[in-house]
Amino acid sequence: MRARIAHIASNTFREAVRDRVLYNLIVFALLMSGASILVGQISINIERLVVINLGLTAVSLFGMVIAIFIGIGLVSKEIEKRTLYTVLSRPVRRWEFIVGKFFGLAGTLVVNTFFMAIGVFAALLYVSHSFQKPDAWVLVALYFIILQFLIITALTLFFSSFSSPLLSAVFAFSLFVIGSFAEDLRGFAGITQGVTRWLATGAAYLVPNFSALNVISSVAHSNPVSGQLILYNSAYALVYATLAISGAVLVFEHRNLK
């Protein structure tokens, strides 16, 4: 079972690499190099703040775009091109296929983030000339970004298990945007009453809380991240991604492959 999931994941990773998904790293490298040189020339004493903010936001956005645009095709492309037929006619269970696909894309995003992180730290070194102790919190921010990728990948997989690629992209992107304002939504729920309060609270807890996973601004200002938040966010992402994948499996297990 584990071997089959690993083989499917590794093939998904290989597909992403051969489809030149990692080429986005070149654009990212150019962006970081340009930004570092520019920031070094125009800003005074806030170079570090600008580089961290810009670098981590770019890591997050590049990854989200990859997660959504590859995620929507993970299942639908296999059905449309009928490559799935020769996989599922082997001793591969449908849930193993879904889980394998998830790990394949998650692995791609982790590798992509790893190389981008090198770029961020290189730019940081260029503008600050040395690393400082608070720079270690950038690693935590990157870890939280990866947690966001896991959630959005699982959600995209869930949507693509029953809807068209276009709708899946719309749903996933909408959830990303709404989830980025999840704390505001919770605040809004707190000041409303009656049915609105019910609906707003329900929506606030249903959408992924990406705002809690975003500590970019905080680490850019050299603020530390508490161990409790790291633990809470890890558990949250794990549970949310597991539920979304379970939903995808549940739908896919009963789907007729046309």
């Binding site: 071997a3 089959r4 083989h7 499917i8 093939n11 290989r14 597909e15 051969r18 489809d19 091109k81 009928r82 490559t83 799935l84 037929y85 020769t86 996989v87 599922l88 006619s89 082997r90 001793p91 591969v92 269970r93 009963h254 007729n256 492959l257 046309k258």
Partner: protein, 312 residues
């Protein structure tokens, strides 16, 4: 034990927006295919052949009925390790080379890693693609992809093979090679269930055939039995360019091709016809009884109102 047992397998789709109406993709189907048998599943396009194969592969779910392969349910992974499937007009991960694809499928089928590479070499050799193992599949022609499809189906040495239109997209040479390969597999004792609408392939390869039309089984029988029944007519062939008047008087249907005349007439008139040809000093080439062809059987079963009475 039958290798494949299909018991009342049925697939219905709902069509329409407001008033949903059932559309029968497959009406209750009962079939049993013995181990070692080559079974042809014949029918025109849209008859329900691919639907049946998808149901057997667990790709779609039946509305009613069940099927067992090698005595196991169709979703049993133990059973799936013992079958091979070639879909119609197969398409594979085109970013992989043929060798990488077969390695991947070998991994998923649980082929022993120690022998996997050798098995991939063997199977590439067997389907006539030993030189292009390292070429990406996006550069393959339709015929080459069909061969890769056959290679992935037989890679793990399965006991039962399901081929959906295996000759489709192949040139005459390719068709001949696939036919030879299927004959080899038959000699190795594999059970082969294949769908086709190319009747000559079915006639050459199959022990038994079933005819399906509009989702309904119209007939099942052994190819030898179906093609051995005699019409009570004979075909007389001779060298010449003219038909003697006495032969026309017997009601013979004559066709002249080049310097050969082919006449089909009643068996009762055979001696009279031969006597007429001798008189006219025509050079006789052959006299053969006219047998029912698989095509005759197929056409007959497609007529409206034809149903298969008993369970096959």
């Amino acid at each position: 034990m039958a290798a494949i047992e299909i018991l009342g397998l049925e697939k219905t789709y709902s069509v329409g927006f407001w008033r949903k109406k059932p559309k029968y993709a497959l009406r209750p189907l009962d079939l049993a295919i013995e181990e070692g048998e080559v079974f042809g599943f014949l029918g025109p396009n849209g008859a329900g052949k691919t639907t049946t194969l998808k149901l057997l592969m667990g790709l779609i779910f039946p509305t009613a009925g069940t099927a067992r392969i090698l005595g196991m349910e169709v979703d049993d992974p133990k059973m799936k390790a013992q079958i091979g499937f070639l879909p119609e007009q197969p398409y594979f991960y085109d970013y992989l080379t043929a060798r990488e694809l077969l390695e991947y499928y070998g991994q998923l089928s649980g082929v022993d890693p120690k022998h996997r590479s050798r098995k991939v070499d063997d199977v590439l050799q067997r389907v006539g693609l030993p030189q292009v193992g390292g070429v990406q599949l996006r550069k393959f022609s339709k015929g080459m992809l069909q061969r890769v499809g056959i290679a992935q189906a037989i890679l793990h040495d399965p006991r039962v093979l399901f081929f959906d239109e295996p000759m489709s997209g192949l040139d005459p040479m390719g068709r001949r090679e696939v036919r030879d390969l299927m004959e080899q597999l038959k000699h190795e004792g594999k059970t082969i269930f294949f769908s086709t609408h190319i009747l000559s392939d079915a006639e050459a390869l199959c022990d038994r055939v079933a005819v399906i039309h509009q989702g309904e089984l119209r007939g099942v029988g052994a190819v030898a039995d179906l093609t051995s029944s005699v019409h009570g007519k004979v075909e007389v062939v001779w060298q010449g360019t003219a038909v003697p008047a006495s032969l026309r008087a017997l009601g013979a249907e004559c066709h002249i091709t080049g310097d050969t005349v082919r006449a089909v007439l009643s068996e009762a008139n055979q001696d009279t016809a031969l006597e007429a040809l001798r008189r006219e000093r025509m050079r006789l080439i052959s006299v053969t009884p006219v047998r029912t062809s698989l095509e005759d059987y197929f056409i007959q079963k497609l007529q409206p109102g034809v149903t298969v009475g008993a369970r096959a």
